[in-house]
Each structure stands twice: as C-alpha cells, then as structure tokens.
C-alpha cells in the first residue's frame, strides 16, 4: 500500500497562492507551515506579515496573523512578544520592507535581543510595486528604477543587512540560505527550524535571510531564475551561517 510521503502541510489553508509562477515566497510559506507542524507550535504561533507581495500571507497561514505597516514588522512583533512571552512570534519581511524602510526597527529589535524570529525574503527587487530597485539589488542588476543596471556610484551598494544584524549584540542566530534548489530548500528549512527553536529557548533575536527567486521582475524563466540565484546573487550574498550563538544552547 502506497504511503503518502509529501502533502500540503496542516497549517496552510487550502487557498491557492496568488504568487507568480516560480516565486520563492510560496516555497518559504510551505516550509514555515511544515516547521510549525513539526515543532507542534500551531496553537502558539503569531505571525506578522509585511507590506509587499507577502502581505497576503495571512490568507495562507492557518495561525494567528497580524498585519504590520510597511517595515515595522520587528516593532509589531516586539509588542506582541512582550505581552505574550510564551508564544512564538515571527515577522515575515521582504528586502524593501526590512532593509530600507524598516532598517531602524529591525536593527534595534536585534540589538535589544527581542526574542522573536524574522524571516527575511531577499529577492533583490520591490516585487509588488513592479520591480523597482531594492536595497539588496545587485550592482549592475536591472530594475525599473535603475535603467542600465544599478550603478553603485549613483544608486549606492547592495546592503548587507544580515551582516549588520550579526554585529548587534542581542542577535543570537543569523543565517543566509536560498530556495533555488531542493538542497538549498532543505537547508533553509533547517535554518528556520533552528531560528524558531532559539526563540522557544528564549535565547534572543534570530533571523533567516532567504535568497528567493522573483522570475517575473527578473524577467527570467523560473528555472533560469533559480540558476541566477546560484550564479549571481550568492556572489554578493554568500550562503552561510553569519552568526550562531545557539549551538549547544538549544534544548
């Protein structure tokens, strides 16, 4: 008798994702839902979706979800967590949300060691508004507001937010992963699991930055977008554990 070994996770509603074909958000949503189920924290989780493509995350996750104004996920999550310290609170934020308009909130939440987890989806563009330059757009990368590609002299450099957050003394675990291949997807899942566990153990601020394909705004096929992550994005944003003060501390 054949046994089902892969199916829709329990904590995703039976809704069809509005995301474009090949979008990394969908994969990341699924991973988070799987982890919530595996850690058995579905009744304790409160998610904070951002402004941007993933604002509709609350239509997919079957857990309590509270919307945040653009960039303020870390502050909203802080408020929830301080009132309900035994719940698991995560913010889900894109690169424009977290690394441009919400930089201050994020750095200070990390620096205070807020016991929350942030999922930072880096696709190098403002997706929902139509592909403008993001703080993480690569040098030379085309966007609708960097005609001819991002010129670092004119437009500044891509921002290494995760590295900056690692300097903050209150952060305990920061890893950069990607969802462009089965191997990297599984690595991402391990990283998010570890980040949630760090929070469950009360260790402090944890964040997983995930390089995520945006085929629509990159104007690539889904398969080529995954290749582009591997060939271009990781050169600026290498996949690695950036900070880990968790090893040994997790129960």
């Amino acid at each position: 008798m054949a046994k089902k070994v892969f199916q829709r996770p329990k904590y995703l509603k039976k809704a069809v994702f509005h995301y474009c074909p090949g979008c990394g958000h969908s994969i990341i949503h699924r991973l988070i839902a799987e982890i919530i189920e595996e850690l058995d924290i579905g009744e304790k989780v409160i998610g904070v979706p951002p402004a941007g493509c993933a604002v509709l995350a609350y239509d997919y996750f079957d857990v309590d979800m509270g919307e945040s104004p653009h960039g303020r996920g870390a502050a909203v999550a802080t408020g929830i967590k301080r009132i309900l310290p035994d719940r698991i609170v995560f913010s889900y934020q894109g690169d424009g949300d977290i690394a441009a308009i919400g930089t201050a909130e994020t750095i200070h939440a990390a620096n205070r060691g807020e016991n929350i987890t942030t999922i930072f989806v880096n696709n190098g563009v403002y997706g929902m508004t139509g592909g403008q330059m993001a703080p993480t757009t690569l040098a030379g990368q085309n966007s609708t507001t960097t005609p001819g590609g991002r010129d670092v002299k004119r437009d500044g450099f891509p921002l290494d937010l995760s590295e900056m957050l690692a300097i903050a003394r209150g952060s305990v675990y920061i890893e950069r992963t990607a969802v462009n291949s089965p191997k990297n997807i599984m690595r991402t899942k391990r990283a998010i699991t570890k980040a949630f566990k760090a929070q469950m153990d009360g260790l402090g601020f944890s964040l997983v930055e995930i390089l995520s394909p945006c085929p629509t705004n990159w104007k690539l096929s889904s398969v080529d977008a995954c290749k582009w992550v591997e060939e271009s994005m990781v050169k600026t944003f290498p996949l690695k554990v950036i900070k880990d003060e968790v090893e040994g501390a997790i129960s």
């Binding site: 046994k3 070994v5 829709r8 994702f17 995301y19 090949g22 969908s26 994969i27 889904s222 398969v223």
Partner: protein
Amino acid sequence: MAKKTKKGKITIDRELCKGCYLCISVCPSHLIAVSDKLNQKGYYPAEYMETDSKEKNRKCTGCTMCAITCPDIAIEVYRG
C-alpha cells in the same frame, strides 16, 4: 543480491500548477513533462509520466525533490 529500488509515485494537481516547471528541472529520473493541454488558469501544467516508454529503467523513487521544489504544493508523493 538484487538491488532494491524504492518504488514511488507522484500526483500533480493540474489546476494548482502554474507552469514554472521547476519540478521538471529537478526530477532525477526525468519523469515529468509539460502537458499539451491548458489548465483553467491558462497554463500548460506539468504532467507525471507513469513510466517512461523509451527507457524502462527510469522509475519514480518517491524522492520528493519535485514536491519540495514545487512552489504551489501541486505535487503529492507516495512511496511503497
């Protein structure tokens, strides 16, 4: 001793599929192809080929690579 190969099977929900074809790119046995019929959303969905007619030794092992990669959770995997 005969080598044991895992037996697997997948189903693809053709209406959930948005035609990104990431599953096709990761299937180690090349058992997924593009359907020649549009779904209701207007995509040509991915389609599981039960057995490959040309190379009989290409079988689904239920490795779940396709499902792990599928953004739209259109694939369910069975094993055994």
